[in-house]
Amino acid sequence: MGFPNPGGGVGWTGPAPTPDGHSMDAPWFAKRPVSDVRPGDHGWLAYAGAEERDRVIGTFVREGLRHNEKVVYVTDAPADGLPGLDRPLDGHRIDVGAYTRIGQLRVISRADACLDRRGAFEPAMLADTLGRELGGAFAEGFRAVRLTTDHSWALSGPGRADLAQMLGCEHRVGDTVAPSTMAMAICQVDRRTCSGAELLALRDTHEVLIEVDPEFDDGVLRIVRTFEPHGLRLEGELDGARHTVLAERLAAVNRAGRRVHLDVARLRFIDLGGLNLLAQHALALPADEALVLDHLAPDVENVIEMVGWRRLPGLVRGAGAAGGTEDLGR
């Protein structure tokens, strides 16, 4: 007798992805911080820039190296320039050569991993490459294999692979990873290199959306960096015990010199001190700048409407589910 299948039927009630202006809400996706990636995950990262990519992939690579897992990076970039390898790990400089020699770090060129002899993109090859690395890993003493590659090159420039080929490649990788108890993969794409429709089609071949690790998470409040738009996502409840940590994170994102957006779609509670904190932060901004609150949830919006936006100078309503709003970002 089998277990009841929680994923079956239409009544699945897992967390819907936060509206981020790019992903259409599709409840069958899991959104997962990169440190929570686990075997069987075929993950997707459509990054907005190098900072986001390096923070996600850097963590993915470093955690593999730290936990005796094999890291397979398909790229034409030199190994010592890959995300995450430029900083010390547990206090020690990362010796790329040593990790490479013992086979824990495998940097495989695109030609070897996914191009045919004539240099054309071959949809079946990446999954085969992964299968090969996976097959040897256990005997080599690694408990898992992490694969990542950036598809942006294949989707842009001359000799661009067509979408159907890419989708075929992704399906095969997914078919290899999903049933595995050892394999994890993150497929990266620079979202600026694809159309929205292409991004959605590619994303749909993955089960897991990977994002940065939260800046803070104590089970009540969760703070996650966002990159497009630039800012923070707040989830849960903000109260006096958590003002300091938010103030620090706000100050940090503010240093980038870009307009800061707070995605508060999942902020269920904000205390009055929290409103004061946001207003104080906005006060410190240049006169023509503003702190943008995106996707206000009704409970938080109600408190703001009660006191009046006029009493929160420098805070503006950004993108939102409610009608009649305007996106003031960028």
């Binding site: 109260d239 009055l272 004061n276 207003a279 109600n302 100078p313």
Partner: protein, 302 residues
């Protein structure tokens, strides 16, 4: 700039119109922002008499405008701010029926607060009191809360708002039933306290919004007691008929002035924002400081 806040004691709709119509017409002639808040049938009669002249008058039914004194003060202030730099000319007829004795006291206090909240505006407000319908104590209070009395010349009965508010507070009683439930508040992390209050609100049958507002209000009172008060800090909750009462107490002595939290702060960055918002969020807030500590009592009606 000075506020012109006067009461007009009238008898019946015809008399109402005799005073109200010239008042509003004068405001229109001075090209002010003219607002008429009145009860029916007076409101309809005003519309009829003013006819096309009343085209730019904002007619507002008192029944919707006077539901919660702190909200009404906020809304009048918003009208004044949005009208600036134009002067506001307001005819106002508060609602005096349907309130408990306790609520009536807050509406009387409200009339006195108008003098403070709009002190630095040049607004003109005439408040209408129907001598035929209103009880003597409300008419008496009108003389004490309005610096001016229409048609009566000098008003020697007017009382300074701070003195008046202190007098209102002296009439309050602070009994707490023996069956009140006590919860200690020891940690700055108020997550569990919020869950507790939400649970009591649900059990009492409060609507979702009222429950969330109560949670925000209690959280603020508790955060304030933890920050400025002295331990022990705790929450008492009890039910009084349709009312759920939450009282946050600490062992400190906060000498709050009688106007504390009644005057809308200019922004969230100004002093008093927290308590003022607490007053907005629940139906009634009462403050008490004494030998046994400082207490913020919040009432929400089902």
């Amino acid at each position: 700039m000075t506020l012109d806040h006067a009461a007009c004691l009238y008898g019946g709709t015809d008399d109402f119109l005799t005073v109200a119509v010239p008042f509003l017409r004068a405001g229109l002639e001075r090209e002010e922002v003219v607002v008429a808040v009145a009860e029916e049938p007076n409101l309809g009669a005003l519309r009829d008499v003013l006819g096309p002249d009343g085209g730019t008058v904002a007619f507002i039914d008192s029944a919707g405008f006077y539901r919660h004194p702190i909200h009404t003060l906020r809304d009048y202030q918003a009208i004044a701010k949005e009208s600036a730099p134009r002067r506001v000319c307001a005819l106002a007829e508060p609602v005096w029926s349907g309130w408990t004795e306790r609520q009536t006291l807050e509406w009387i206090r409200y009339e006195s607060l108008i003098n403070v909240v709009f002190a630095d505006t040049d607004a003109q407000a005439m408040c209408m009191y129907d001598t035929g319908r209103l009880p003597e104590d409300i008419l008496f209070a009108a003389r004490r809360t309005h610096p001016g009395l229409v048609r009566e010349g000098a008003n020697n009965a007017y009382v300074d708002p701070e003195v008046f508010a202190a007098g209102c507070d002296r009439r309050l009683t602070f009994d707490r039933p023996g069956h009140a439930e006590y919860t200690a508040i020891e940690s700055a992390d108020l997550h569990r306290l919020r869950a507790f209050v939400a649970g009591r609100a649900e059990r009492h049958g409060l609507g979702r919004q009222a429950a969330r507002n109560l949670v925000t209000a209690v959280n603020e009172a508790a955060a304030n007691a933890l920050r400025h008060g002295a331990p022990p800090v705790g929450l008492w909750t009890w039910r009084d008929g349709d009312t759920l009462v939450c009282e946050v107490g600490d062992h400190g002595y906060w000498r709050a002035g009688p106007l504390t939290g009644f005057v809308p702060p200019a922004s969230a960055l100004h002093r008093g924002f927290g308590l003022w918002t607490v007053r907005l969020l629940v139906d009634l807030v009462e403050l008490r400081s004494g030998w046994d500590g400082t207490f913020v009592r919040m009432h929400v009606h089902r």
